[in-house]
Symmetry: C2
Subunit: 451 residues, 2 copies
């Protein structure tokens, strides 16, 4: 039987980016044109309101992907034609929707570099553009920055917990759709992971690609030892054998006897601490002191820290679902708010969702030992002490800053984590890093809000 | 300043799908070729081990996207060349990697239709193919089915809780990357939502596109009433005004006075029950009984149910982060396991992760009133009573089943939910729907496992 309708994969193409936005962005854009406000210069700022419970800092990630998307956003004629048919627009003069046809992002973007440790309440990115353009890019910016930042922040906690033992990202199958796997692999490597199992992430991003074997390899052979021997012969010296298909320690005994010697065994279920100790003893007895032990199976930073603290003889960890879904905290309260229009401060007072007016810069102070001592959020035009974190990356709709290589971002993240005060690296740290607003900003806010 | 490196958006293209897999799938595939096992017919089954706490059923979704991906998977010559350089493959005879160059999916796929209510332990999809091909597609199948099923299942709970009030999906900005927004919009609509704010989802999938306004529209004007009036004039009769930028009830008073009359007000923060009642009273006093009240702001099924039970005068709900991240349960334990090879049953015994051997079919019985009474998981070649749920959708690598339109899938989901026993629709239901394995399967398992 032939089919008449092809299945749809739902991978957006570059032409689709112009509509990867919420409808209200488009109705507001049309409204700005209609109200003669389309030329007004707006400053929008992106920040995180508060951190999920138990998190004390974030690692900013996803900027390269966010900028690539925003700079590629267009509205083709066929998209405009399609929009005309929507209930929201049907009644409008056609000239109003024509205004959208010429829209592309021609503004400036200031951003904190990827790999930087950041905190709630700080401006992470600022868009300075004509009002409709700045409105249009909101949805994509938030979707492109939120998840990578969430995963990089989670990965940094795991990296800290592992105290130097390598972590491998194995989570593509558990990501929220196929693209999430790519984004998660990038964020994990950025925040200190040693590699990923997702081959395409390795190819696109030059991340080391790693792998072991699946249970199906073992099951495909009549006997476990046959499966082990065949793999060890095909991948001499590099094979990692999965030992928990039937009986873990029996599996380790068989793995220890394999020639040529294997690289590692992987334990994917059960009580990892005691199994790893027993496995280590078996391997050592068989003269396999060089064979490593890799563990996986729903591991998070707390479990990693516990295994490391207990001294379990585990040489590396495979991490999946807990990282790629950020299971304990799968969302950030990242928002994008109008703070200035034609030089005039803008704010909102919604319960629990106040914002500060005026374009801002974030300044970071260090103590004499080079550790982060506190951040000041000030007006962008206000002189202040400390290192300014936001830099201009896009000017007039053109990139003016070459995106750093992923390996450079990874080095920055490592250096940033090393400069964090020790107590903030604890897995149960309170989010108490000092972030203060300048007197000038507080005064602006009071004046505008009539306080 | 010009830049030399372009930023990368991380949208995979069709050519990339062959490597959207874990490295171990490729090392195992090469191993099957090397071991002379590449021609063996394998049956792999995809199922969910157990449900997250508080969930009693799932709504299967994502099949169309999963099949589109699997049928498009290829290995181009340049991908093979890139693979040769990986540490894992460097030492191999080049002929072994050449074997991958010809691989495409040429097997059969049996699947339960999208929109069906399903339960843990049931075979949701079965792949019957030469061993390397069946191995290769695992990662993509899981990534493409898991998240849509998670969101459709969550959306069904919200639909049930809303008792007929319309729900709108507003979550694109909170998805785990931009693609997740598209997938979430599809799953939400499939499971009873009335529309989405994500314009591209509307265009691609013919989902009604809906929108209100953002706080920035209000802030862009000097006075709230100016912002309201301008919007109502541009979108006469259809405008939904956001009333919580400064003071909610003050905003409602201004909205009630606007000419021409608006369609609705939206409250996005604060105590929604009491605010909605106060807003309703104000609107009615102003002769605006026809103006609806829409609420949003971190709403989940429990909050929706509470507002509905309290009789809050809310006409519709905007839903974002709780749906698109499935925040209370952001992952499913969905797995894909070898169950049969060349007619021989395969299983594993890993602690907590046992599987049943042999290719299976799922049969559903109904009670005289047409409600689901219990499911039987049986061998695929075993006669059994009830409606068989798995149907063949791909044969010999070709689609043999036209993907149903999204609106048909939505109707199926509605009918399926209506046929669920009432107690399973409760938000705190135990997962106690009867799913049993046939005597034949139990006997096969005992025999193979030597029990």
């Amino acid at each position: 039987m032939m089919t008449t309708r092809e299945p749809v994969a739902l991978w957006p193409q570059e032409d689709d980016l112009g509509l990867m936005t919420d409808l209200y962005q488009l109705t507001m854009m049309v409204g700005y044109f209609r109200s003669g406000m389309a030329g007004r210069r707006a400053e929008f700022e992106l920040f995180v309101r508060r951190l999920p419970h138990g998190r004390a800092y974030m690692v900013l990630a996803g900027l390269e992907q966010a900028l690539a998307g925003v700079l590629a956003m267009r509205m083709s004629a066929d998209r405009i034609a399609w929009l005309r048919g929507l209930d929201a627009f049907k009644h409008l003069d056609s000239s109003l929707l024509d205004a959208l046809a010429d829209v592309r992002f021609e503004g400036d973007v200031w951003a904190i570099p990827e790999g930087t440790v950041v905190f709630p309440g700080e401006t992470l990115l600022r868009v300075s553009a004509p009002l409709p353009q700045a409105q249009w890019v909101e949805t994509y910016l938030l979707a492109a920055l939120g998840y990578p930042t969430l995963v990089a922040s989670k990965a940094a906690r795991m990296t800290t917990a592992a105290k130097g033992r390598p972590l491998y990202e194995f989570g593509a199958r558990r990501g929220h759709g196929p693209q999430a796997g790519l984004l998660a692999a990038r964020s994990a490597y950025l925040a200190g992971f040693a590699g990923t199992s997702l081959v395409e992430a390795g190819r696109r991003l030059e991340i080391p690609v790693v792998g072991t074997m699946g249970h199906s390899w073992i099951q495909a052979f009549d006997r476990e030892e046959q499966a082990f021997a065949a793999y060890a012969q095909i991948y001499p010296g590099s094979a990692t054998l999965l030992v928990d298909t039937y009986d873990v320690l029996e599996g380790v005994r068989k793995a220890a006897a394999i020639e040529p010697a294997i690289a590692a065994v992987r334990i994917d279920s059960g009580e990892l601490d005691s199994l790893a100790r027993a496995a280590r003893a078996i391997l050592d007895e068989h003269g396999r002191a060089g064979v490593k032990i890799l563990c996986s199976g729903d591991l998070d930073e707390t479990k990693i820290a516990r295994l490391v603290a207990a001294g379990a003889p585990i040489d590396g960890f495979g991490i999946g679902v807990e990282l790629v879904t950020s299971r304990d905290a799968p969302a950030l309260s990242m928002v994008y708010k109008l703070v200035e229009l034609e030089g005039q401060g803008k704010y909102k007072l919604s319960p629990g969702k106040r914002t500060y007016p005026m374009a801002k810069q974030v300044y970071r102070r260090r103590d004499p030992a080079g550790r982060f001592a506190g951040d000041l959020v000030a007006r962008a035009d206000e002189p202040a002490a400390g290192e300014p974190l936001l830099e201009r990356v896009v000017q007039g709709g053109r990139l003016v800053h070459e995106p750093p290589s992923l390996i450079r971002v990874r080095e920055r993240c490592r250096d940033q984590l090393a400069a964090l005060p020790d107590h903030l690296l604890a897995l149960d740290a309170a989010c108490d890093y000092p972030v203060v607003y300048s007197d000038q900003l507080e005064a602006d806010a009071r004046r505008l809000m009539g306080g």
